[in-house]
Symmetry: C2
Subunit: 359 residues, 2 copies
């Protein structure tokens, strides 16, 4: 029987490392957190409220059950080299966005691959650094674990970390993982960046007509270039066939661009592809009943609407606020379970709100 985790060392105090640290600390596990960047190190120390974070003189006196490496992927070999000198019994769990490349790196290192558990929490934000960390970043999100060749004690520890963080454990081979993330994560990143790059040479007056479509489709383009440069290069073999397929599709489109039937079939194919994406957290897509309310854009209006909903004890599943600067009105769209919809509509209308159903 594997012992429970009591001391975990985390190398890399970025978004992911600090978020794991927050979750493990809440579960009563002793954490030491180290980062080569003094700013990140000191910020993470404040966030964790723990003066021992990164104090390597003290750390060296304790032996951790598990070392989680949460640095950018290219630093992995170097970190392992340093860590194995600190602790010859080193067992490592990584959390990087690719899985075949780190396995290859480890196979050339002094660490046995049986002491390396490749994992990947499918959670992230366009923002980075310890200041963006959240103890619940991983709650309900897929967390991939590559089991092949990993020793049982280390597997048990990795599973414990994933469970404490609230992740949804998904076992994949390293190759299957890398093919999957090339499709669902790396390709969207590249496509968003490709689109955003065209804006560099656009006229300022043209950009004045930009709406939500352009903003949403380019959101990922704000991601960290250093991290993403490494991710893309490391997973180039899995990304390349997807980009070539996209390139071929683009060539066909350019040929048929001025035929509306061709363009129509092109757009329809995108809708069919998108329909294959599972819902918000890997489950089935959820259908909500949406209600749009026109309000005066001033403090207190939102509170009053929410209070109206609380009166009839319905749960607001989602909420969207849209302002119209220069206007005195705003729009609030509330989402409810379909069964609550008609009741809410009737109640809000009765309470005097300018309420409209929406899809």
């Amino acid at each position: 029987m594997t012992s429970k985790l009591s001391h975990v060392r985390i190398v890399g105090a970025g978004l992911i490392g600090t978020s794991i640290a927050l979750a493990l600390k809440s579960a009563g596990i002793h954490i030491s957190l180290a980062d080569s960047d003094p700013r990140a190190q000191s910020l993470a120390r404040d966030i964790l409220g723990d003066s021992k974070v990164g104090d390597s003189n003290e750390d060296v006196l304790e032996v951790e059950d598990l070392c989680i490496i949460a640095t950018p992927p290219e630093a992995l070999t170097q970190v392992i080299k340093a860590e194995i000198q600190r602790n010859p019994e080193l067992r490592v769990m990584d959390v990087s966005s690719i899985k075949t490349k780190p396995l290859l790196d480890v196979s050339k290192s002094a660490l046995s691959t049986s002491r390396f558990a490749p994992t990947h929490p499918m959670a992230g934000r366009e923002v980075s650094g310890p200041e963006s960390a959240r103890g619940d970043l991983f709650t309900g999100r897929p967390w991939v674990l590559v089991r092949e060749g990993v020793d049982q004690d280390l597997l048990a520890h990795a599973e414990e970390v994933i469970a404490i963080c609230g992740g949804v454990l998904m076992s994949r081979s390293a190759l299957d993982h890398d093919r999957a993330v090339a499709q669902v994560s790396h390709l969207p990143q590249i496509v968003a960046s490709l689109l955003a790059r065209t804006l560099e040479s656009a006229d300022r007056s043209d950009l004045e007509l930009a709406g939500a479509g352009l903003r949403d489709t380019t959101r990922l383009a704000d991601s960290d270039p250093v991290l993403w440069g490494q991710i893309i290069a490391s997973n180039a073999d899995a990304i390349r066939p997807l980009l070539i397929s996209l390139q071929n599709d683009l060539v066909s489109l350019l040929e048929g661009l001025d035929e509306s039937e061709f363009a129509q079939a092109f757009i329809a194919g995108g809708g069919q592809g998108r329909a294959r994406i599972p819902g918000k957290h890997g489950g089935q897509p959820r259908e909500y009943f949406n209600v749009t309310i026109v309000i005066e854009d001033k403090p207190g209006q939102l509170a009053a609407i929410i209070e109206s909903c609380a009166q009839i004890e319905v749960n607001i599943e989602d909420l969207l606020i849209e302002h119209t600067p220069g206007q005195d009105t705003g729009l609030i769209t509330l989402s409810f379970l379909p069964s609550d919809g008609p009741t809410v509509m009737a109640h809000l209308h009765h309470e005097g709100w300018k309420v409209h159903p929406s899809r």
Copy 2:
């Protein structure tokens, strides 16, 4: 002096036509709304609460000041042909997503181009049909008007429609408009569809790892294929150079894909392009102070938080709810003006909320 609008005929009871009808009707203008599709016609009639909608026997007795054509772009010539027989004094305002092609179509029709005001409200939704219409769909949104060669009375009527709908009038030439929307609207649509099309052949198990990035970047792929087929084909000349530029960028990326420095510069360029997009409604980008609160996922929690904010009279600029099914907690992110941030943080903390700053 141009007389005020009293009777407007709208052809096309889709999202845009019905939304304009709702706004004009609220302003006391008499509307007749016609659609070749009986389902849309009947639904629009119910939505407007007006039994005269589409009753062409009655309509023919009245002469409208203005006819707004809100059909898919390819129907324009045919609609003009029919309408000019009803009313030889016909003055038309269109609302389609392209402007050079309709002008060309009209120049070949029986209608003088001086009696045709090309306009484009920059508002839309992935959903369509009269059931998605909102009288405030255009509030605060750019609404392009092409003035060249249009007679003064018609210009005044078009401006009155835009003002009543709450649109932000922007004058552009037809060519400038089409180049701008190719960049800010048509290219994002095509890129989202290109990405979504790759999902058709993806493994189901790979898609289980999909997150918000894939969903946001492909959101536009759900758009109406018939409408978008026509838009893309009609604006092919403005879209083509952008697609070729994107294609060249893709070829370069494929060559440098496994070099992390190259990939890093690629991603960085996307961030620089995206930074050029103006804020939510064409103004400067707004910076908010964001506060994240961990709550129990049950009715009343949101109301209590909003009430806490109302106590100190700060305005909530934006709000994001994230559920974690299978967990008892949810996350709420509130956005405030930067000047309100510290006060709100201190107050919510004092009120006992689990509050975290976020970027």
